[in-house]
C-alpha cells in the first residue's frame, strides 16, 4: 500500500509543462504510446521468464522420485520449448522494430505541410529564434521563447554556433541535436494552447542546466497579433529615467552585443532585446522577468550564470537603475 502511494506520488512528477510522459502534441503522443507499449511488453516478457524460472523450484517436490531413471521424451520436450521461446523472441523483436519504424514514419509526416518555419540556433547558453518569412521585413529574431500557433505543424530548422546542443521540448517532441555547420529539421505541433518548457539535452558547458526555453502555443489570431507586435521597433522610453537608460545603453558596452530594433544598438552576438520585457524569463529560463531580476542580472551576470559570455559591466547605481527602467519598458 505504502509503495503504491509512493509510486503514485512519484508519477505525479511526470505531469506538468516539461514531461515526455504528459504529451501535448502528436509527436510526443506517438513517442509516449511507443515507450509505454515497449515497457509493457518487455515487463510482460520479464514476468513470464521469472515465472518459468521459478516454476521448477516450486514444483521440484512433485518431480519423479528416482532421478537416475532415463526419460526418453525429456530432450525432445526441452528442444521444443527452446525453439518456441526463440520463435516468440524473434516475433517480438520484429514486431517492436516494425512499430518503431512506423512511429518514425508518423513523426516524419507531421510537418510535411508546415506553414511556419522557425530557425533555432543554440548558443552557450541561450537560444536564438528566427521566424522565417518570404518578405525580408517580416523576418523576426528573438530569443529563448518560441511562440507557435496551436494545432498547426511548425517546422524547426536547428543549428548551433559553438558546440553541440540538443533541442528538447518533452511535452511536444523528441530531442534533436543542434550541430555547428549542420542543419537538422524537427517538426512539432501543439494540440492546444499552453506553455511548455524545454531544456538543452546535451551537455554543452558550465551553464548547460541553465539553458531553458519556452514554447508558447496560442490560437492563430493571437499568434499573428504577437508576431505583428514583435515586428514593431522598440517602444520609445516614456519617463526621463528610461530615456537616460536608453542613451546609456548605446554609450556603454551593452551596445557591442545586443540589438534593440529602432535604436542604434545593432549587435547580433547576444539575445535581441527589442521586446525583452514581453518575455516570461531572463537568461534562458533562469530568472523570471521582473525589475529586480533584470537589475540583478545586469549587475552581476557571472554570479547567476558563472561562465556565461555576458561580462560584468561596471555601472554605478543610477546608471543601473536607468538601464533597468529602459529595458522594463521594452514590451
Amino acid at each position: 500500500m505504502a509503495s503504491a502511494m509512493a509510486c503514485v506520488l512519484f508519477l505525479q512528477g511526470c505531469a506538468g509543462w516539461q514531461s515526455a510522459l504528459d504529451p501535448k502534441g502528436p509527436a510526443a503522443s506517438e513517442l509516449a504510446w511507443l515507450i509505454w507499449f515497449f515497457t509493457g511488453l518487455c515487463a510482460a516478457v520479464w514476468v513470464l521468464v521469472m515465472i518459468a524460472l521459478a516454476a521448477p523450484l516450486v514444483l521440484r517436490s512433485r518431480q519423479r522420485t528416482e532421478p537416475l531413471v532415463l526419460d526418453a521424451g525429456a530432450d525432445d520436450r526441452k528442444f521444443r520449448v527452446v525453439v518456441a521461446a526463440l520463435g516468440v523472441t524473434a516475433l517480438i523483436l520484429i514486431g517492436l522494430t516494425l512499430l518503431s519504424f512506423f512511429a518514425n514514419r508518423t513523426l516524419a509526416a507531421i510537418g510535411s505541410d508546415a506553414a511556419l518555419t522557425i530557425r533555432v540556433t543554440g548558443h552557450q547558453w541561450w537560444w536564438e529564434v528566427r521566424y522565417e518569412n518570404a518578405q525580408p521585413n517580416r523576418i523576426l529574431t528573438t530569443a529563448n521563447e518560441i511562440h507557435i500557433p496551436a494545432g498547426e505543424p511548425v517546422r524547426l530548422i536547428v543549428t548551433s554556433t559553438d558546440v553541440i546542443h540538443s533541442f528538447w521540448i518533452p511535452s511536444l517532441a523528441g530531442k534533436l541535436d543542434l550541430i555547428p555547420g549542420h542543419m537538422n529539421v524537427l517538426d512539432i505541433e501543439a494540440n492546444k494552447p499552453g506553455i511548455y518548457r524545454g531544456q538543452c539535452a546535451e551537455f554543452c558547458g558550465a551553464q548547460h542546466a541553465n539553458m531553458g526555453t519556452f514554447i508558447v502555443a496560442e490560437p492563430r489570431p493571437k499568434f499573428d497579433a504577437w508576431l505583428n507586435e514583435q515586428l514593431q521597433p522598440a517602444a520609445a522610453p516614456t519617463s526621463g529615467e528610461a530615456k537616460a537608460g536608453g542613451d546609456l545603453f548605446v554609450k556603454r558596452p551593452c551596445v557591442m552585443c545586443h540589438r534593440i530594433g529602432g535604436t542604434r544598438a545593432g549587435g547580433t552576438v547576444a539575445p535581441d532585446l527589442t521586446h525583452i520585457a514581453s518575455r516570461q524569463t531572463l537568461a534562458a529560463g533562469t530568472l523570471t522577468m521582473s525589475r529586480g531580476n533584470l537589475a540583478a542580472w545586469i549587475a552581476d551576470p557571472q554570479g547567476i550564470k558563472p561562465g556565461a559570455h555576458m561580462p560584468v559591466v561596471s555601472l554605478n547605481g543610477d546608471e543601473l537603475n536607468a538601464i533597468v527602467a529602459y529595458l522594463e519598458g521594452l514590451r
Binding site: D162, P180, R252, M256, C257, V269, Q302, G307, V313, S314
Partner: protein
C-alpha cells in the same frame, strides 16, 4: 617496481590533473578602465606613448581562458573587418613580427582602449576593461607571443590560418634564432 609504489605514483599522476587554471570571470566592478593615464597626445608614431607596466597584464597574457575569450571577442566585435583574421587589410597585420606601437600587453591594451591615428577607433567605455585585456592577450598570441599550451586551439568554423597554438613565432618563423 613494487605494486604499492606504482599505485602511489598513479594516484599522484591522477591528482596532478586536479590542478586547474583559475578563471576570473567576476572582476571587481569598481575597477573601471581608468587605471592607465589618458595620453596627452595622439600622434606618437613608433611606440612613444607612455605605457607604464600594469600588474593586470601578467594575469591575462598566458591564461588559456582569457586567450580563448579574447579570440571569441575578436570575432564578435568584428576586428576582422580591418585586421582580417590577423592577416591585415585596411588595418595592419597582427600576425607578423612588426609592432607599430610595441608588442607589450600594455601597449596593445592602450591601442584598443584609446585608439590610434589612421583609423583604429577607441573602445573606451564600449568594452569592459577586462575584456580589452583579453583581446590584447589574444592579439599577442596571433604572432606566437603566447605559450602554445595556452593559446587558443581550433576554430569552430573555417579559418584561413592554423589555430593560434600551432602558429610559429612571427619573429623567428619557428626557427631557432
Amino acid at each position: 617496481m613494487k605494486p604499492g609504489l606504482a599505485m602511489l605514483l598513479c594516484a599522484s599522476l591522477v591528482l596532478a590533473a586536479c590542478q586547474r587554471e583559475e578563471r576570473d570571470t567576476r572582476p571587481q566592478s569598481s575597477l573601471g578602465s581608468g587605471e592607465q593615464p589618458t595620453p596627452v597626445t595622439t600622434l606618437e608614431p613608433g611606440g612613444g606613448r607612455p605605457s607604464p607596466s600594469d600588474n593586470k597584464a601578467a594575469g591575462f597574457e598566458a591564461n588559456a581562458f582569457h586567450l580563448s575569450e579574447g579570440k571569441r571577442l575578436f570575432g564578435w566585435f568584428n576586428c576582422s573587418g580591418c585586421h582580417s583574421n590577423g592577416g591585415g587589410g585596411m588595418g595592419p597585420a597582427l600576425m607578423d613580427e612588426k609592432w607599430v606601437y610595441g608588442s607589450s600587453m600594455e601597449s596593445i591594451h592602450a591601442t584598443i582602449r584609446d585608439g590610434r591615428p589612421n583609423g583604429m577607433p577607441a573602445f573606451r567605455d564600449k568594452i569592459p576593461d577586462d575584456q580589452i585585456w583579453e583581446l590584447a592577450a589574444f592579439v599577442r598570441s596571433l604572432s606566437g607571443k603566447a605559450p602554445s599550451s595556452a593559446a587558443p586551439s581550433r576554430n569552430d568554423d573555417m579559418m584561413v590560418h592554423p589555430s593560434e597554438n600551432r602558429l610559429p613565432d612571427a619573429a623567428t618563423l619557428g626557427k631557432s634564432p
